[in-house]
């Protein structure tokens, strides 16, 4: 059970880490177009 005293604070830090990554990705425009890339990958570029 003692492990929880370490794991719970780590989980809190992980959540903050996830938030930081999310904000960075959002700033880069990762979530601006959620449908386009899925369509684009289906097209063959060689023609």
């Amino acid at each position: 059970m003692e492990a929880l005293y370490l794991l719970i604070p780590i989980s809190v830090l992980l959540v903050f880490g996830a938030l930081w990554i999310f904000f960075k990705a959002s700033d880069d425009g990762q979530f601006d177009d959620l449908s386009g890339p899925a369509l684009r990958i289906l097209q063959d570029d060689d023609r």
């Binding site: 369509l39 097209q43 023609r47």
Partner: protein, 824 residues
């Protein structure tokens, strides 16, 4: 050759639809493009040109990959004003590189994305082209020395899409930013909600039976505190800010109890956590924030869709004009933006072009089609000195015009103002809900304070949770969401169908309306002359007569001439008849030689001049009569009229079935109005109505307590449209009428009106259900919380469920079955 006939039949069956856009291919037409080795039929030269371009640039693969038809290219050519965009202020340039965001119309499927990006990617000088499918924005960066904005717009057009520079600064930058911020807030709230739930779970499961030791419980509480912090400090900002501004304005809004509930629960929990004793409500707080943000997000999405539809309408207006700077000395024209025209400038308006601003004719004579502006079907002759409003279409020959007022003061600017006012107003029922809500909120705060005081005196340990429970459980949100969520869902649904709700009270008032008043011309009718009946005389064939008439009228710019040419193409594209030596006697008719014989078309006396007397007897007809004759012989009599829209009858029947009284007002003669009313099953018809009389009539109805919905389309209707309780303009109608109307049918199709009425009824139902539910909920839940029967987390769930029910009930509106004409 049996094989040949079956193949032919098969290819004809296949030819029923345009390979490019899927529209029906007109009979006898022959536009074909070879795609992947087989000839494909096209519906119009526009589609054929686009398809040919796509094949020529080696991207026929588009047709293999696509999952839906492309938008029809139509007959619209490349507008001359395209090169104006080279100096467009919306293009950002940085050294050699230029950047612009374009609004692209006509994206239907994945292949479109591929096609556009590849087309631009292969252009010389284009460095980057990326299309955002969700927002239909195309971002392009190019090298100024190698290509230009006009070339880019041109090449997007050449493959069948319309692109416009898009003012990100003014329009959606704000909305975009709001949506991004709200998305982040939602994400943070969601993440923190899920995580806090996990930390809270052990405590709930232990249920205070001692299996969870004190240190661990305290650690879990501290962890929850840290994770709730971002939700309260970042995600709850919209509510905290809203509450703060409404307190400063001294009108307590819905946000006040929400903010107080969040803060009270959070501070109470934080205090318990520091002291190491007492209740914590972190899970309730985060869940509450997350669920409220979800509903805000839905609302924002609906608003964004509405904004983009408005933006499209704006591009329907002429953007450019040919200015004659040196007139009358020189006739050199330059293309300038319509907005740059000043009073006193001279412009050249060619046949078929829209007039860019309110003008006075300076040289030449023509007829102008004012049907866009006045709803009157017959083009009006205009000579030197006559005034022509901007937006009218020059139906005759090219004329020089002097600008009377700059475009920004003319009818064209009406739409821009419309865009700004749309969405800012609130419907009465929402205003009522807001007013009620502020009383509700004030009463609620007092009630929460009273319960706190009571419990403080009675059982101090429970005072805090009870007060929080009262604040949280009371769902002003359900009350405040009840109306807007239903209206947003309905507005969005209607927009998808092609109805633009400009003022939000439309649905409410249309539902209450007792009288539906229709204008005739352009509303119940097509608004342009068509050949309604052909009466061949002396054994002539109707088809033959129509072809002769079309061949003759091909020379005339008279509006009625278009009725013939249009119906002749519909009857038989290949009329193969050539008329020689045409001669037109204005106001009487036209004469020409066909096959060596003199033919005349026009008034009875004019035709009698060649056909000889007597004029055949005329039975009672409504509409204009046009005669056709040749040497010593009468050929036919044509009845020209304004055809009723096909859907008009079922729409009228629909309104009558809903118990509304349908009235027809018309500027035409009483018998024409009566005839139309009779055909449509309308009881009351008033002809000979001047705009002032229409207004009086509507006001008379209103004085007797009627709620009047007016459907019209012209400038002469503007007054009556604004006087009516709710007004609706046809999309083909004047921009001015649209600015006066509360709702605009983007397509000239009356069934959209029935659809609006249908949706209005369902929306009002949904709103009533929502209000009833939230009242019931609040009336039962708030006392329960005050008596201490509900703890904060249960209150949170109750409140969330209540909001969710309201929102889901509203979203149901998007899925209701579309209106279908019943068989009356």
């Amino acid at each position: 050759m049996p094989d040949g006939t079956t193949l032919n039949a098969a290819s004809q069956a296949a030819a029923a639809e345009c390979f490019h856009c899927g529209l029906p291919v007109p009979a006898q037409s022959n536009w074909r493009v070879a795609i992947d080795g087989s000839e494909r039929a096209m519906c119009c030269p526009g589609c054929a040109a686009v398809a040919q371009t796509i094949v020529d640039i080696g991207q026929a693969g588009y047709y293999r990959e696509r999952t839906g038809y492309a938008a029809s290219a139509g007959a619209a050519g490349v507008p001359p004003g395209l090169k104006l965009f080279n100096d467009d202020p919306r293009i950002v340039s940085d050294g050699d590189a230029c950047e612009a965001t374009l609004l692209v119309e006509g994206i239907r499927c994945a292949a479109c994305v591929w096609l556009i990006e590849h087309r631009l990617g292969r252009m010389e000088g284009v460095e980057k082209a990326s299309l955002n499918v969700a927002t239909e924005r195309l971002f392009v960066r190019w090298n100024k020395d190698k290509t230009s904005a006009a070339d880019i717009l041109q090449s997007v057009r050449s493959i069948g899409y319309t692109a416009w520079p898009y003012d990100a600064q003014r329009h959606s930058a704000q909305l975009q930013k709001a949506s991004r911020t709200l998305g982040r807030q939602l994400f943070v709230a969601g993440l923190s909600m899920m995580q806090v739930m996990m930390y809270v779970a052990p405590e709930y499961m232990a249920g205070g039976d001692g299996t969870l030791d004190g240190d661990m419980a305290s650690l879990l509480r501290w962890a929850s505190l840290f994770l709730t912090l971002p939700a309260v400090a970042y995600s709850a900002l919209p509510f905290l800010q809203g509450a703060w501004s409404s307190i400063r304005a001294r009108v307590p809004g819905m946000d006040v109890p929400v903010a107080l509930g969040i803060l009270a629960a959070f501070i109470g929990s934080a205090v318990s956590t520091f002291r190491g004793a007492g209740e914590v409500y972190y899970d309730s707080v985060t869940m509450f924030i997350f669920l409220l943000l979800c509903s805000r997000y839905l609302e924002l999405l609906a608003r964004r869709k509405a904004a983009s539809a408005l933006e499209r309408m704006q591009h329907g207006l002429p953007e450019s004009a040919s200015r004659l700077s040196g007139w009358p000395v020189s006739r050199d024209s330059e293309v300038v933006p319509a907005g740059a025209l000043e009073a006193g400038d001279h412009v050249l308006v060619k046949g078929g072009e829209a007039i860019p601003a309110d003008c006075v004719v300076a040289e030449g004579r023509t007829s102008v089609d004012l049907s866009l502006l006045t709803g009157e079907s017959a083009p009006q002759p205009r000579a030197v000195g006559d005034e022509v409003p901007g937006g009218a279409v020059n139906a005759g020959s090219a004329v020089v015009m002097r600008v009377a007022r700059p475009a920004r003061e003319s009818t064209l600017s009406g739409l821009l103002k419309l865009i700004e006012q749309a969405g800012s107003a609130k419907p009465q029922i929402a205003q009522w809900a807001d007013r009620t809500a502020s009383w509700f909120v004030a009463a609620l705060l007092l009630f929460a304070a009273a319960s706190f005081a009571f419990w403080w005196w009675h059982d101090a340990a429970r005072a805090w949770p009870v007060a929080i429970a009262v604040l949280v459980v009371s769902c002003p949100c359900a009350l405040s969401l009840a109306t807007p969520s239903a209206l947003a869902a309905a507005t969005d649904r209607l927009l998808g169908k092609g109805v633009l709700i400009v003022r939000p009270h439309v649905l409410e008032t249309l539902h209450r309306a007792t009288h539906i008043v229709f204008d005739k011309t352009g509303t119940l009718t097509e608004g342009r002359p068509t050949v309604q009946r052909i009466a061949p005389l002396n054994g002539a064939s109707a088809d033959e007569c129509l072809r002769i008439a079309a061949a003759l009228e091909a020379f005339s710019a008279h509006p009625i001439a278009r009725a013939f040419t249009a119906s002749a193409t519909a009857a038989a594209a290949d009329h193969g008849m050539a008329a020689m030596d045409p001669y037109e006697l204005p106001g009487h008719g036209l004469e020409a030689y066909i096959g060596g014989r003199r033919h005349r078309i026009g008034t009875a006396t004019f035709v009698a001049g060649v056909a000889g007397t007597p004029v055949p007897a005329l039975s009672g007809e409504t509409g204009t009569v046009v005669w056709l004759g040749t040497e010593n012989r009468w050929l036919a009599r044509f009845i020209i009229g304004d055809a009723l829209r096909v859907e008009a009858r079922s729409v009228v029947a629909e309104f009558r079935a809903r118990g509304k009284e349908v009235v027809l007002l018309s500027g035409d003669r009483q018998e024409i109005a009566d005839a139309a009313a009779h055909q449509l099953g309308i009881e009351h018809a008033l002809g000979n109505c001047l705009p002032g009389q229409k207004l009086q009539y509507v006001q008379g109805l209103q004085a007797r307590g009627a709620v009047v919905a007016m459907v019209g389309d012209g400038i002469n209707d503007a007054a009556v449209l604004s006087a009516a309780d709710v007004s609706c303009a046809m999309g083909s109608g004047a921009t001015l009428a649209q600015a006066h109307a509360d709702c605009v049918l983007l397509e000239a199709n009356l069934s959209l009106l029935a659809e609006t009425a249908h949706t209005a009824t369902r929306t009002m139902q949904a709103i009533r259900q929502n209000l009833a539910w939230s009242t019931l909920y609040n009336v039962s839940a708030i006392p329960a919380a005050a008596f201490g029967l509900l703890n904060p987390w249960l209150s949170g769930i109750g409140m969330a469920a209540s909001s969710a029910i309201v929102i889901l009930n509203a979203l149901r509106l998007r899925r209701i079955k579309p209106w279908k004409p019943s068989t009356y």
